[in-house]
């Protein structure tokens, strides 16, 4: 790795970490209700009483209901897109299985793409169906995190807040302003934003057009990741310069990292937030360095303006966070890079992870960790002043088992079915990696892909769609349940036997738990893919 590589890694880490405290403090202020000027009339439109709080069951039902309605709307728009405005290329209606996969993908914040945007979707579909879900799915994830923070601070209370208030505040005060600013900077750098028909050059090249910048800003900020174009942020119209690339990379990790600080503020113990961020960083940085180092010799599938270093940083950020956008083709990575990107997703998208969902996932791992530590010394475990008992452990177990189950069962079905293997571009161990990557990505709501795998078959669309739903809901609902259960408990005073959860010992324990759980579930599968390929390369 050259000096320039180290400098660029430093610039990236430095800027996004510098933003953690100011943005985190601002988001905490939003959730503490310090900004309310704009939301009063919104609640009247929605027909919601913002003062009426919900039990965890009600919160879950409203959360789920919003997803079902969103899914049906996306499905409806995509299956009828040829009759809508803003379709200068005359793209046809999508078949059900394809629309179903896209709808589940965008509703669950996965943004896996079985299509190439520039050859499939109208501008209306991109805006009214996909951009909306880019916001909604991100806000819904952050809402749960806030409910969980309330559950931790409240004592013997049956309610955890109002989903519609959390959703509205997140969208209006956090995501929309950030996206507006980022969109305009991206346009200045060369990202396109118009409603024109594709432009034909004198030499016969057809240049795609469209309202790209507004969607690209939120897909980076909201850990969505679904690209406006087929090759996502490798496309020069989606990511034209090294500066646009830096900003898009920072946007991937910005909110998930800052939420750690927000969480610390909300539970009135900032050290806890820093500890969670520290845990994420000690897992993330080594993988980032490994990917950059491993890819330093490989330009296949990479853009010259970014070079190998920015392709490596992006790959680490997008798989650690559940963003899933790409600026280089992961399918052409060397085995070490493939291994690292796969493994970061397999950790359950808790190292930064999705906005909100990454941190509530990490908190679930923290609950598992205090339980394991409690078992060692024979004490009832506590976390953040709350006793961790049977109900929390059941919910936490479901939440950490669902994603691996989705990944492994999905991969197993696909490798045995002709439609599952029919879409492979590469064969041998790398072919297995293509399928494993697809289901790891969908089963953890990431959305990135080994692009050689043509996943637009009925089997992969439907199976993948179901997996994305199960994996999103299978972690989210237990997290809301834990929030409700914790809210109902008394606060336990810190005693001599309480394991401090803000120090280096806990950070190491937590990081170890995350890595070991991931490794235990997936090392056999990884051995069949990237590991075999590495030996074949020699």
């Amino acid at each position: 790795m050259s000096t320039s590589d180290w400098i660029q890694i430093g610039v990236f880490l430095g800027i996004f970490l510098a933003a953690v405290k100011p943005l985190g403090a601002y988001m905490a202020a939003v959730y503490e209700g310090k900004f309310t000027r704009l939301d009063g009339w919104i609640y009247r439109i929605l027909g919601v009483d913002p003062g009426e709080e919900q039990s965890w069951q009600q919160y879950s039902i409203h959360w789920l209901c919003f997803h079902v309605v969103g899914l049906l709307a996306v499905l409806g728009i995509l299956m009828t897109q040829q009759w809508h405005p803003w379709n200068p290329q005359g793209f046809a209606n999508l078949p059900f299985h394809m629309a179903f996969n896209i709808a589940t993908s965008f509703v669950t914040n996965t943004n896996w793409q079985n299509y190439g945007g520039e050859s499939t979707l109208s501008y209306f579909s991109q805006m009214a169906a996909l951009t909306v879900q880019n916001f909604a799915s991100a806000s819904a994830g952050m809402a749960i995190l806030v409910a969980l923070a309330r559950g931790i601070t409240r004592r013997s209370v049956g309610v955890i807040g109002n989903f519609w208030v959390d959703l509205t505040r997140t969208t209006v005060y956090i995501l929309l302003p950030l996206s507006l600013v980022l969109s305009l900077v991206l346009i200045q750098q060369g990202v396109i934003d118009n409603l024109d028909a594709y432009v034909k050059t004198t030499g016969g090249q057809v240049l795609p057009m469209g309202p790209a910048a507004s969607q690209i800003a939120i897909k980076q900020l909201g850990t969505n990741g679904g690209g406006f174009f087929n090759v996502n942020s490798a496309h020069p119209f989606e990511n034209p310069t090294p500066l646009s690339n830096l900003l898009e990379m920072i946007a991937i990790l910005l909110i998930p990292a800052a939420l750690c600080y927000t969480f610390g503020r909300l539970i009135q113990d900032k050290r806890q937030g820093w500890a969670l961020l520290g845990t994420m960083l000690i897992i993330f940085v080594p993988f980032l360095l490994l990917i950059v180092w491993g890819e330093a010799s490989n330009m296949e599938g990479k853009e010259l303006r970014f070079g190998t270093v920015n392709s490596g940083i992006w790959a680490a950020a997008t798989t650690a966070a559940s963003n899933g956008s790409v600026n280089a083709m992961h399918d052409s990575f060397l085995p070490l890079g493939q291994f690292c990107t796969l493994f970061l997703m397999m950790l359950g998208e808790v190292v930064f992870g999705g906005v909100g969902s990454g941190l509530y996932g990490m908190i679930i791992f923290a609950i598992i960790t205090v339980f394991i530590a409690g078992q060692m010394v024979g004490r009832t475990p506590e976390y953040l002043g709350k006793k961790i008992e049977t109900f929390e452990m059941k919910m936490a177990s479901i939440a950490i088992l669902v994603p691996p189950l989705c990944v492994l069962v999905g991969t197993a079905i696909a490798v045995m079915h002709p439609q599952g293997v029919g879409g492979l571009l590469n064969h041998g161990p790398h072919g297995f990696s293509e399928i494993l990557y697809a289901f790891t990505s969908m089963g953890n709501n990431n959305g990135s892909a080994f692009g050689g795998y043509s996943a637009n078959s009925v089997l992969v669309n439907i199976l993948g769609g179901v997996i994305m739903l199960v994996s999103r809901f299978g972690v989210a609902i237990p997290a809301i349940a834990i929030a409700g259960s914790l809210a109902g408990k008394k606060t336990t005073p810190v005693g001599l036997g309480t394991l401090p959860t803000h120090g280096p010992l806990f950070i190491l324990l937590l990081a170890g738990t995350v890595v070991i759980v991931g490794a235990l579930a997936f090392l056999p599968a990884l051995a069949l893919g990237p590991v075999v390929e590495q030996f074949r390369l020699r």
Partner: protein, 174 residues
């Protein structure tokens, strides 16, 4: 039932806010403030669009600089179907390194539309272009240097040469 009705109203509201108002505000602001970029950074001549500064084009005649290999669908540099090769390291069709040739010239880019080659990649081709055009090599090398973009702010990204702009400059040179 209550949850369902609120969900429907919320979705309609957020569709209007985030799906129409937000993209249209960005659209108008972008068109007003940065129209050239928002329209695709087009290179025009006499009212006709020659190409985009950002999107590479296919050149294979010896008097032009050649861009990186492109794996876009149907034909190279097809901007309607962006794509990388997606060949894994053991794929039989993956191009093998050519001794002495800068690596960007034998590896396919991620988008298939990469507008740039490296400075080494341009210099590597200078001899061929000079011979085909019957001009001294120093003139071509000088043109390359004039069209080399450094790292952004001296730090970000990689040093590079825009192939389309360089070829247009070659043609305009009289």
């Amino acid at each position: 039932m209550n949850a369902f009705m609120i969900s429907v109203r919320a979705l309609v509201f957020f569709t209007v806010l985030a799906g129409l108002a937000y993209p249209l505000v960005v659209l108008v602001a972008g068109q007003v403030a940065f129209r050239h970029q928002a329209q695709g950074s087009l290179i025009e001549s006499g009212g006709k669009v020659i190409g985009s500064e950002l999107i590479g084009q296919h050149f294979d005649q010896s008097q032009y600089f050649w861009p990186r290999p492109s794996a876009t669908g149907a034909k190279p540099y097809n901007a309607e179907a962006s794509s990388g090769s997606n060949f894994g390291p053991l794929h039989p069709d993956l191009k093998k390194p050519v001794v002495g040739m800068p690596r960007d010239l034998w590896t396919a880019s991620g988008s298939g539309l990469d507008p740039h080659i490296s400075l080494e990649g341009a210099r590597y081709q200078a001899e061929r272009v000079a011979v085909a055009r019957r001009i001294p090599k120093v003139v071509v090398v000088q043109l390359i240097d004039e069209h080399t973009e450094g790292r952004q702010w001296g730090v970000l990204g990689e040093e590079r040469v825009n192939v389309l702009k360089l070829n247009l400059a070659l043609d305009q040179r009289k």
